[in-house]
Symmetry: C2
Subunit: 356 residues, 2 copies
């Protein structure tokens, strides 16, 4: 297929404009928000895959998006009734498929969808294929800590994992973190129910031993417990998808719970409402720091391409955050770096007779 | 051994007064705090197991504790250098052993220790033995939610679990919750990475099927995700000890993280400090609601006796909370109720050929 080579054109982000609870409105508004609020915005172009009769009127209302986005018409999209098997066999006309295909074809540098997570993972895997030695992608999520951000993976794609998979997650997480935050040697830890070497199940113990002994150059610092994920001492938290999903959601639920208590406290009397008003700017800053939209944008790692999963229920600000992750990663050398380290890991596996 | 039968004497709580980071001071002060702040205090008596030369001066400073506690001298206790194998073979003179033994002998109705968790579990199991069909106790922790409290088990004692174990945890958690909060039909759920029946690993799926079909009379409501533990819709959260430990600690860590951000926000300017001062009472109430000391006191379930594990680093208020849990459970029919339901479950297991 003839297309402009990546080096000759602006950065292109390919978006499934029909995926998510509030698509396509929030998607188009999210692109507009990104363009209005991000530096270097004029070097990015967007493909909006979806129904042009729906998208055209929305796009014409958004000045920046209209100037930087191109609608790529697709006649179908995934709905709540779509079966995964159907989408994988007959989904070629679907907006999600097309969004991924643009990445596969090299027409785009990264793809985003707020649609069904399972479908996005399976479709990405089928279209883009996995990097050498990997079976399924890992979903990396962003985790706010005291001093900045950490990442945690797998956040739900691989429910049961071997030690060899955890090793690969460490490599993927390391490269991802470096690409996103320009940190040279991210501190990597395995999530466990204690920090002593004897703690945990066989899988984490085996992965711990292997990571401690490996010479692939990761900055592995040992086990981390749930209460220290937010400490700011760890950059990359490695875990299986079952535990990772529960940890991420437990943190979300706890933050929401405290937020509710906090609001109730401030609104419980006229006096407290008045003093809260006096403190408005400070509280707004706190609210901003805890804003879950700033954490929106999970990345499927291990694919031959960059695919971002936005929360299905996010708003335009949250979607814009997913866009900014896509842009950062598309500008980085993440995929090439991953390839290299996975290759070194693969050689080490052969040496140690380690089986995935 | 001759001792007063339980019905003829006041309720007795047996305490390992030497266990914990700040023992024995915090232990004695915790008993005093409990006696000064709890209704029905005069019907409770305490055994303080430990070094009498250390305990006597501390006790004589506390008016209520001195009147209600009896020192039971023991010459040894577990230190940071004590090996578990040594404690289990030669620990008969240790304060933790003696505290458990008082429960075993029927001299006391419940035991508490803030000492080493692994040692307390192993020693309790050895001295008190497990209820029929159980291999190891489950550690149940208290989890604050929007409307009150939930419990979660296992919080760390059983790192890998079978579906049959999760079934037993459901029974134990049900009886525990009923005993602690006088709720007739606690809502029980299995912690999972999604609520659809297809989600999760084989173990949770098998336990889910079994609990859905069981006729032992539990109010099983299905899967719960990490972000809904705090929703107030679930009373008993069932999970393996690895995941449970990580969920409990992740929630603790997130709450602490937000607490730090909140304090920084309020103290960032003189003005915000002033308005926070105006709001002092409201914030104090919020702080109280989130006070981790109110959640102090894990319970080892499945033993032939009531054993409470206090956090090692808690203060006297936290220890008093563990005491109040011990008193509530000792006054309840928890052990007999558990025995009955486990028996019914055991019969159902036989019928279904279900293997633990």
């Amino acid at each position: 297929m003839a297309h402009t080579p990546p080096m000759m054109r602006p950065l292109v982000i390919s978006i499934d404009a029909m995926g998510g609870d509030n698509a396509p409105n929030v998607i188009v508004e999210g692109v507009e928000y990104y363009l209005n609020n991000s530096p270097g915005k004029y070097q990015v172009k967007f493909f909006l895959h979806g129904d042009e009769t729906e998208l055209q009127p929305l796009l014409s209302e958004q000045k920046q998006a209209a100037a930087h986005a191109e609608i790529k018409h697709s006649s179908e999209h995934i709905t709540i009734d779509t079966k995964l098997s159907h989408a994988l066999r007959h989904g070629q006309q679907m907006s999600m498929w097309r969004a991924i295909e643009s990445v596969k074809n090299g027409e785009a540098d990264a793809g985003i969808s707020a649609g069904n997570t399972g479908a996005l993972m399976a479709m990405s895997r089928m279209i883009l294929r996995m990097k050498g030695g990997m079976q399924r992608p890992a979903l990396a999520a962003i985790w706010p800590n005291i001093t900045g951000m950490s990442v945690i993976l797998d956040a739900g794609a691989n429910v049961t994992c071997t030690a060899a998979q955890l090793m690969k997650f460490a490599v993927l997480g390391d490269t991802y973190f470096r690409s996103l935050y320009q940190v040279e040697k991210p501190r990597i830890a395995i999530l466990n129910n204690g920090t002593e070497g004897t703690k945990g199940n066989k899988t984490v113990q085996e992965a711990h031993k292997r990571l401690s002994e490996s010479e692939i150059g990761l900055n592995y610092v040992g086990f981390v417990e749930g209460n220290c994920i937010s400490s700011g001492d760890i950059d990359v938290v490695v875990t299986d998808g079952f535990t990772g999903n529960i940890a991420v959601k437990t943190a979300e639920g706890t933050a929401r719970h405290i937020g509710i208590l906090f609001r109730e406290t401030l609104q419980s009397t006229l006096w407290s409402r008045f003093t809260a008003f006096l403190n408005y700017i400070r509280f707004r800053r706190l609210k901003e720091m805890m804003d879950p939209r700033k954490m929106n944008g999970g990345v499927f790692l291990g694919l031959n391409g960059i695919i971002i999963k936005s929360h299905g229920g996010t708003d335009s600000v949250g979607f814009a955050n997913a866009v900014s992750i896509a842009v950062k990663l598309a500008r980085s050398s993440m995929l090439e770096d991953m390839e290299k380290t996975l290759m070194v890991l693969h050689n080490e596996d052969d040496d140690t007779g380690f089986l995935g």
